[in-house]
């Protein structure tokens, strides 16, 4: 540890962690805003009130499932079917949460529970690549601030979409649809450069997901299959990490 870090007072470390989390969450914000705006616009078009569509973002906080629900409401699908489809689509977060909380062994359960509720594809993958923070003091503040940055931009963007309607030029919002994919790529490549075998895990997951969807599996289960099965290749590919506490 650097001597400077020892001298730093507790409160400034906390603020430092919060600020670091916000910076790490910023790319997610950039990706979420246009999608949340679009969600708000579509949801209000199907006749949902601003309160309802914002409440869905507050309570569910899962982009793909919310789009699916809006589409199914518009198509007149029953409530039970929508809830089952949501479960299937979001079950992948169970696997991600397992991986997430396994890293946060030093964080108290009362902090881990609310953090785990904020897991999305984006907050999970971003957090996973900032793994050193899990062992640092006030690491929980880092993840909390990262997740809150993403959460507030999702909820705020949904509300704005519902209130303002189509404010973004269509061509711009269409182009921004690539943002989250680019973010995933930007997260993956640095790890691949450090350990080329990681590319093998990712490509295997792509292939499994692709094959499962070609066989007619729903997107939700195909992503779960790709993540779980390709993750197993890591048992042989990855090395044990030094746990220093």
């Amino acid at each position: 540890m650097e001597p400077q870090a020892i001298r730093t007072t507790a409160s400034s470390t906390r603020i430092h962690m919060i600020r670091k989390g916000m910076i790490a969450g910023f790319p997610i914000m950039l990706g979420y805003l246009p999608i949340a705006l679009t969600y708000g616009v579509l949801a209000s078009r199907t006749g949902m009130t601003n309160l309802e569509l914002t409440l869905m973002s507050v309570l569910v906080f899962a982009g793909a499932a919310q789009f699916l629900a809006v589409g199914m409401v518009a198509a007149g699908t029953g409530m039970i079917e929508i809830i089952i489809a949501t479960f299937v689509l979001n079950f992948r977060h169970f696997v991600m949460s397992l991986s997430f909380v396994n890293r946060l062994k030093g964080v108290a359960l009362k902090a881990k529970l609310p953090l785990s509720l904020g897991l999305t594809d984006e907050t999970f993958t971003m957090s996973a690549l900032y793994k050193d923070e899990a062992r640092e003091k006030y690491g929980g503040f880092f993840y909390a601030s990262l997740i809150l940055t993403a959460y507030l931009s999702w909820v705020g963007g949904s509300y704005l979409g519902g209130v303002l309607g189509d404010v973004m030029p269509a061509r711009l919002s269409d182009s921004m649809g690539v943002a989250l994919y680019a973010m995933f790529i930007g997260l993956l490549i640095p790890s691949v450069k450090k350990n080329f075998k990681i590319a093998g895990i990712a490509v295997l997951a792509m292939l499994i997901n692709f094959i499962c969807q070609t066989w007619g599996m729903t997107q939700g289960w195909a992503i779960v299959m790709g993540t779980v099965l390709a993750g197993f290749s890591g048992v042989w590919i990855l090395e044990d990490e030094e746990v220093t506490e």
């Binding site: 949460s97 269409d174 930007g186």
Partner: protein
């Protein structure tokens, strides 16, 4: 009616998210399970990128793929992630002009 749907969606989304937090605290996994869980982020990234990226422009899947390649190139050159994202957005924007 919508409100009950929202509550139902919230419950089936929240339970899989927080359940692991309750489980993992009480069990110590063997080393191979730790390695599996450590590989999950990379596998998830792969599964989230492809084939989803081809649906950026559903009628022209090559646009998403090309933007993805631009992203890979920028990330490979150690460009900050914000500019990887902006670079990919710009390339889709230019390709759809």
């Amino acid at each position: 009616m919508i409100i009950w749907m929202v509550i139902g969606m919230a419950v089936v989304t929240a339970v899989p998210r927080f359940l692991p937090a309750l489980i993992v605290g009480f069990v110590t996994f063997p080393k191979w399970v730790d390695r599996w869980l450590n590989a999950i982020p990379y596998a998830a990234l792969g599964a989230l990128i492809f084939p989803g990226i081809m649906s950026v422009k559903p009628d022209a899947p090559q646009i998403g793929v090309i933007a993805g390649l631009v992203g890979i190139l920028l990330a490979w050159l150690n460009v900050h992630i914000i500019f990887v994202v902006l670079g990919a957005i710009t390339s889709v924007f230019l390709m759809t002009l």
